[in-house]
Amino acid sequence: MSVIAFAKNWNGKFKNSSFELVSYTKALANQLNTNMVVLSIGEVAEEELKLLGNYGADKVLTVSDPQLNTLTSRAYADIVAKAAESVGAEVIVLSDNNSGKAIAPRVSVKLKAGLVAAVQELPVSFEPFVVKKRVFSGKAFGHVQIKSDKKVLTIAKNCFGLLEASCVVAIEEFVVDIDTSLFKVKIVEEEEQKDKVILSDADVVVSAGRGMRSPENWAPVEELAEVLGAATACSRPVSDEGWRGHEEHVGQTGKVIAPNLYIAAGISGAIQHVAGISRSKCIVAINTDPEAPIFGVADYGIVGDVMDVLPRLAEAFRNSKS
């Protein structure tokens, strides 16, 4: 009975979400008094795999077939299930990101293991096995019991944090038969923005809304983002008007993000937008209207003109660095 975590890599590199997953799984394994295994799929260098030890991993199974470098959820789910069975895992943990959402449900059906997605913290109890997750798009929490013997969890981004440790990692190649007939989905083209900070990964996000009044006024937003090493985002009316791209839209039907810091400039705070940002650790709001709903969910607020406040924040941050 052990715990296995599937740590995704992107082009052979792990991200903070992978490390957070390892930290969580380690803590979970400790609570269950059992051992943990980390599974990696795709070609990843040994040095990179060893990084997992910095967050508590002591054993890593790697499936380094180059065919599997890009996600094909059926193949990945097959491997996760087989790996879980081979190590006799009771709990399988993944990150709640695009790949986790694709793989975890399949693993759940394969192993008849109850699945709870986007779990917020370590289990509330073990007998019965109960975990806590957000429900009603962030308006409440639900306690869910998993009744099956095997259990699948995906953990929400930024719910647990990174716990550093220093473990020696034993790396083992996991040999598995890969059924190529499972590859029915073919990738024709891939586009990835290389130069900007990716929104779903960013720790700090600077976001702006209709309060900026015109697309020509975005320079202070981009300047602050650059100084903070942050990603830029926007509210729905802004992306609907075409002022910013759809990939920047944060909200209930846009991206739901969970950065450490979310700065909302000229955003009123409509309920659909808040649904996309309520998981942020800290929210800062800048708006000329002191009655704006955003101040109801923000931790810090400034009533002022964004065109004035944003450059001053950028300047202040620059000064504090030097």
Binding site: K101, L115, A140, V188, L261, A275, S320
Partner: protein, 249 residues
């Protein structure tokens, strides 16, 4: 080509969420029920594909696992333009159960494309779509932002962090869709509402299936502390606070 759209019946976005019976059940008194927003976008896209004369889509069916109180929502889906609605008469206890019921229906009634919204706005499980794909052993694509049919050539766009992938696949397959799959959700026209009365709404008995998880209780989040206001004249203070107090910079 036939398309199946999985519909979830959820409380309207502005609902004030409350619980009853010792916080173990959602209090649905006075709640306005709507089609799950992502499922609505999926249905809109299915309608667009059917209306495009260049495709061979000739039937759109919507399916829901739930009780009779969801019939009004299913009629709305018919009014938007679906040809047929099916309700599996069962309590949607968990994602595994819901996906299993839909899979049982699919085994008797095959479809070429199955659309599912990426999550439902009530329990945010984001599991049902991919589970259906696994039950049926179909290819499934998640985080889908666009589906295009050129005759029978299927092209699907998938969102990845910071970009997108363009994929090709074959029927039957499951598309788990998110924002971008359609621009605006369709609303029913008067004509659609009148025609919905005559469209079939089949109620099917539930199959025997296990339920693997159970909701025990709910909890409202703690009241967030009041927002700390900083004078716009001393905006620089904020940087200090973020660094030293909130520790997020």
């Amino acid at each position: 080509m036939k398309i199946l759209v999985c519909i979830s019946n959820v409380p309207d976005t502005t609902t004030k969420v409350k619980f009853k019976e010792g916080d173990s059940l959602f209090d649905d008194s006075g709640v306005q029920w709507i089609i799950n927003p992502w499922d609505e976008l999926a249905l809109t896209r299915a309608m667009e594909l059917k209306e495009d004369a260049g495709n061979s889509v000739n039937e759109i069916c919507v399916i829901h696992v739930g009780g009779a109180s969801a019939d009004a929502t299913l009629r709305k889906a018919l009014a938007i333009g679906a040809d047929k609605a099916v309700r599996i008469d069962a309590c949607p206890a968990d994602a595994y159960h819901v996906a299993g019921q839909i899979a049982e229906y699919l085994k008797e009634n095959p479809f070429d494309i199955i659309f599912s919204g990426i999550e439902s706005s009530d329990y945010n499980g984001s599991s049902v779509g991919a589970m259906i794909a696994e039950f049926m052993d179909y290819p499934g694509i998640s985080s889908v932002t666009s589906v295009n049919l050129d005759d029978d050539d299927i092209q699907v766009n998938r969102a990845i962090p910071g970009g997108k992938q363009v994929l090709k696949t074959e029927t039957p397959f499951v598309a788990v869709v998110q924002k971008g799959i359609a621009m605006e959700p369709r609303i029913p026209s008067m004509r659609g509402i009148m025609m919905a009365r005559k469209k079939p709404l089949e109620v099917k008995p539930a199959a025997e299936l296990e339920v693997l998880t159970e909701s025990i209780k709910f909890e409202l989040p703690q009241e967030k502390g009041a927002c700390k206001m900083i004078d716009s004249e001393s905006a620089e203070q904020l940087v200090d606070l973020l660094k030293n107090e909130a520790k997020v910079l």
